[in-house]
Symmetry: C2
Subunit: 299 residues, 2 copies
Amino acid sequence: MPESEYNQKIGYLGPKGTFTKMAVDALFHGGDFTSYETIPACLDAVEAGEIDTGVVPMENAIEGSVHLTIDYMTHHVDVPIVAEMTVPIKQHLLVRKDFDPEVEEITQVYSHSHAIAQCHQYLHKQYPNAELRYTSSTGRAAEIVADSDEPIAAIGNHLAAEENRLVIMKHDIHDYDNNHTRFAVVQKQPKTMKIRDHIPTKHKTTVMVTLPKDYAGALHQVLAAFAWRKMNLSKIESRPMKTGLGNYFFLIDIDQAYDQVLFPGVEAELEALGCSLKLLGTYPSYELSVPTPNMQTSQ
Amino acid sequence: MPESEYNQKIGYLGPKGTFTKMAVDALFHGGDFTSYETIPACLDAVEAGEIDTGVVPMENAIEGSVHLTIDYMTHHVDVPIVAEMTVPIKQHLLVRKDFDPEVEEITQVYSHSHAIAQCHQYLHKQYPNAELRYTSSTGRAAEIVADSDEPIAAIGNHLAAEENRLVIMKHDIHDYDNNHTRFAVVQKQPKTMKIRDHIPTKHKTTVMVTLPKDYAGALHQVLAAFAWRKMNLSKIESRPMKTGLGNYFFLIDIDQAYDQVLFPGVEAELEALGCSLKLLGTYPSYELSVPTPNMQTSQ
């Protein structure tokens, strides 16, 4: 492996044991890793050149608001998306190795508010009397349980268990299956990244389209520019502009790499309609497959 | 005021002093109020008939994930939206009355992770050495500061200050202006609600459209059904179905009340395309205007 790979500075929304860190571990062989407390702090570090690469949640996140990532990327920093990694969200109930459920009852459950909410049904049925305690991340919840000697549990992923020498008392306690988080890998100066042995499931392009005024059918006209070129849109989301209520921009994911024919054609048509198009990135899309508990055990 | 108004049971995402509670105070004269720890817990209580009305964040929330509200409402409970309230998000730095910034330096700043992220630039410049501590809500952060005798501060709204007898040391420390949160008011059995003296800014209808398969131009066809009827869409968002990646449904806000001509026409056309349409609510939209600090003081 070339030395330069290990010299790459990679930042992510921390702490250790979060779903973001799972995405980072899946993406990179090695490097100089830094954990950031907030999404803006991580994106700022990329913008300022303090790190080469940042990894932040972009959709359906536990640790942070999607909107925060999108808004900060569209309004404050200019750091293109160079890859995305989709990670399945599987929440487990984590306890210390010496905790014996036959002897003691769990009195408190720690986790990020979103993770607790995702396990609402399970907690309601299994631990109706346990006190719910909220933390800044699932990783932090695991740290607290590891450092305590009380009969308490954390909700988090298997990495949080490993990082904090906890055991998984109960697998997959989330109420809904098929929950995923998409993470964006961003770089100020796109450079060749060494991604671990993943094969991209597809290539995608993300654009931001700003409409001159909120009028009936405007979005329909915008989408027509993509539709007649048979460009498939895998995501569309309207977001308010920071200039006030009622002014929206659209964030659109297209299921293909940027090219010099179709995209400039779309852009020219949208400009003729008074819209503007900003390219936020064209990138390979990776998926992390986490083995299910059934596959890990002898069952 | 009729007695029945006070008997209405209203639940909201708590605790006291959150932006959700600001929306609740703005909406209702009186009633029997219950604070819930999570969005699913509040929605479950409405579904189960334990409360008449629930108020939860729907977009750009501090306390909770938008996606959680939308997903829970579309997949788990059947509680129509009967009103929405938009609240401007203004974050202030809150301290105890006896705290003197001339004598002591703030060592820790407490708040919900999203609120801390929203004030990232301010904190970075003004309090680079303060430790950031994360709480489950802005309201909880204010409680912690009120109960402490250390030189610490909370980030929260003016209601959090009032509820916990804190003072606003610095107004409007959020990095971006014009940030708003939309709250949904939901009821299992829609009944006449006594809304305080607000005049709706408009009427809206929210629908969920499910596509049979993710194919190029599908969304464009769906929007055509609205566009040729000159129905203005104020929000559109694609969300993954819980059945796995790549299967999406669309959440669409239309800027008009449900009627018996246009909407059934749209529904019939979409069904002919193999799509299904589910009505999530048709409701008045209210806006809370919070006076700016300049208007409150003599400046």
